[in-house]
Subunit: 403 residues, 2 copies
């Protein structure tokens, strides 16, 4: 890939990030009740007013990250939106659970009434991300403390006792190491420690290392496949659940591991991250006929039971762009830049909507838009801007070094 081509992609990415930020600033703010609408149609119309807590937390996080680290986004309306979103979350998202613990709701009405609480840890994770990043912008130490307290509870649920999550245990329900859990915790460790002193780094050091080991357990079948769910001992599970592959998720794990390996100077982990979590998911997950990454696959080649298995979703492509560019930045292997380029071409031409802004989220296997909204219960202001933000910064670094 030539420097000219890299420069052109940086230019497109930078403009696209501006446009995507403008889209959400324009259409997603609930100026009456606070928080963000995330069910936003093709042309910006709000088609449902429910407020999904994952997406509330992610939008607060993303606004703050842009405000804090990119000069052109250090704008008052971005800070104000993040602060208002954080206030909405603090006021409405936390619900008391068994044993004096705090859970976060999964879904709220527009005025903050709890609609649904999931028996997982993810709403709480995005709450922590939002509070920590917001505290970095506002300097609110109480907020940072609250993020750390919620983090302690997450660690307790995952590593000590999950009964506070209210998940019934059944004799046939085999305990599982689902890759999402250590990935999410590793992401939070990186969030909470970034740029903070050695005391905080030390506090989360063992947890980070544990998360990495848990993620590495997903390398299966003599190192030839990343499987989404394994036993807690790190063995393959029977049936569809055990054979499931989620290439986009593995690629996301790949760049989490790359960041971690860079931070700790762990060469071996870097090699594993590239060879196993970046190369393998591409090899199995790229659709050689129509282009794009499959959503789910079965390692034995059976048809997955998820109806959307062959669809092309925006977020695996976002994660792939970050993973390939980061892997290239670390290793300088030209084929990784070629892969970045390939995913970039597919992504620009299929997901981005030049007419009304933002990206479509869901395409058919053949690449046709299958669902035309820009935001929905699981698509908010997160994967697209995070990808564009990270790629812009990595391209800046790469191009600066080439100059």
């Amino acid at each position: 890939m030539s420097v000219v081509k890299l420069e052109a992609s940086r230019e497109w990415i930078r403009t696209e990030l501006d446009n995507v930020v403008d889209f959400w600033l324009k259409y997603s703010h609930d100026t009456v009740h606070g928080g963000f609408f995330t069910c936003i149609g093709r042309d910006g119309e709000v088609y449902d007013e429910l407020k999904y807590v994952w997406l509330q937390g992610r939008q607060v996080w993303m606004y703050c990250r842009l405000y804090r680290t990119m000069d052109r986004f250090r704008r008052p309306e971005i800070l104000e939106a993040a602060v208002a979103g954080g206030a909405f979350l603090r006021r409405f998202a936390r619900v008391s659970a068994a044993g004096g613990q705090w859970k976060c709701a999964f879904c709220l009405s527009k005025d903050g009434k709890v609609v649904k609480v999931q028996r997982t840890i993810f709403s709480e994770c995005f709450y922590v991300m939002a509070m920590d990043e917001l505290s970095r912008v506002t300097g609110d130490e109480d907020m940072q403390l609250e993020a750390e307290q919620m983090m302690e509870q997450l660690i307790y649920w995952v590593r000590v006792d999950s009964s506070g999550l209210d998940r019934p245990q059944h004799p046939g329900d085999v305990p599982t190491n689902s890759m999402a859990v250590p990935m999410m915790l590793l992401c939070l460790v990186q969030q909470l420690t970034e740029g903070r002193g050695p005391e905080v780094v030390q506090k989360y050091r063992e947890l980070g290392s544990w998360c990495v080991q848990q993620i590495l357990q997903h390398i299966q079948r003599d190192g030839t496949a990343i499987l989404e769910n394994v036993s807690v001992e790190g063995a393959e599970l029977p049936g569809c659940q055990g054979r499931l592959q989620n290439p986009g998720h593995a690629l996301e794990a790949g760049w989490f591991l790359l960041q971690y390996s860079a931070e700790w100077g762990d060469e071996e982990l870097r090699t594993t991250a590239v060879n196993k979590f970046v190369e393998l998911p591409y090899q199995c997950g790229w659709d050689k006929e129509h282009g794009g990454l499959f959503y789910f696959l079965d390692v034995e080649g059976y048809c997955p039971t998820q109806l959307e298995w062959s669809m092309k979703l925006w977020w695996p492509h976002c994660e792939a762009l970050i993973a390939f560019l980061m892997a290239y930045s670390h290793s300088k292997k030209p084929e990784l830049l070629e892969r970045f380029c390939q995913v970039y071409e597919y992504t620009c031409s299929h997901f981005s909507d030049a007419k009304s802004g933002e990206w479509f989220g869901y395409l058919t296997q053949e690449g046709k838009v299958a669902l035309d909204f820009k935001g929905g219960p699981f698509k908010g202001f997160f994967h697209v801007p995070r990808c564009l933000y990270m790629c812009e910064r990595m391209l800046d670094d790469l191009l600066a070094k080439r100059d």
Copy 2:
């Protein structure tokens, strides 16, 4: 549609029913642990051994129904399979719940260990269907009593107190009349009363009438649309949930109502069933470009948030075939027979697999096979054989009258 064409379709349906029964007899029986495998691949291979209770109950019911009412299926291996399936269900599916109540598991391991329990009523509904139909074949009165006892509990959950289902109530979670609940109970009323004495009919009469009223609440927007979820007062709900349409489900409700109206001689209900629950879902749900019925639609024309909204699933087409043929049988309107013919042509040519038997379940909008298995977590021995069985009998009646 000519008599010759009707005769040809009856011939195809009869042969297809034989083949489908053979497919499940051959591939689905677990002769070691009892019960049925339902995750069955394109060519008959078992690709997952989990046992989904809905599908266990449905297979017992279908085997018994065929054995009891169609001479050519009064075969010992069908009865034996049903009895073994019923024994597996009685032994493993029931789990004790709060307050001395019984729940049924949603999913079991192959040897009967509970994997998952849903906080809905549907596993229990299919348990009742299985036990009642099995008791009709075996003459086991205890079993019939057990079916009625479980039915009492279902009625209590739906109409008196749902706390036994263990669903947390949240302030923003508005109580909903979801069409599945009264449909399922109406189906059970018809199951439990069919051919039984006036005492039993009387026992469930008020419930049947209540179910019908609950279903009729789903006629919305001045009679122009069937909506899947309404408020308990019968008003439209806000947002995506309130605007959701499920044409196949409405068509299934249509033929439930037609059966009920015939039983009670209710002319007005018959007209409503045809005009609202058979005609409207076809008008909104038929894909004029590619053929087939959409899975989900939004009454305002927004894109549904269900990723599979535009896919063509086998079961809505099964329900449509029954609904159109029954509506024609009752009303003799020729356009209803034309609709039957249209759905029949699409179904034969797209879902049925002449090579390896049974039907594919999931097609893309364009009609390509998207998931190639014959059985899965939600596709078992039920919609296809029930459709073929009912259509064969209705065509027998229609053709006998024409002779």
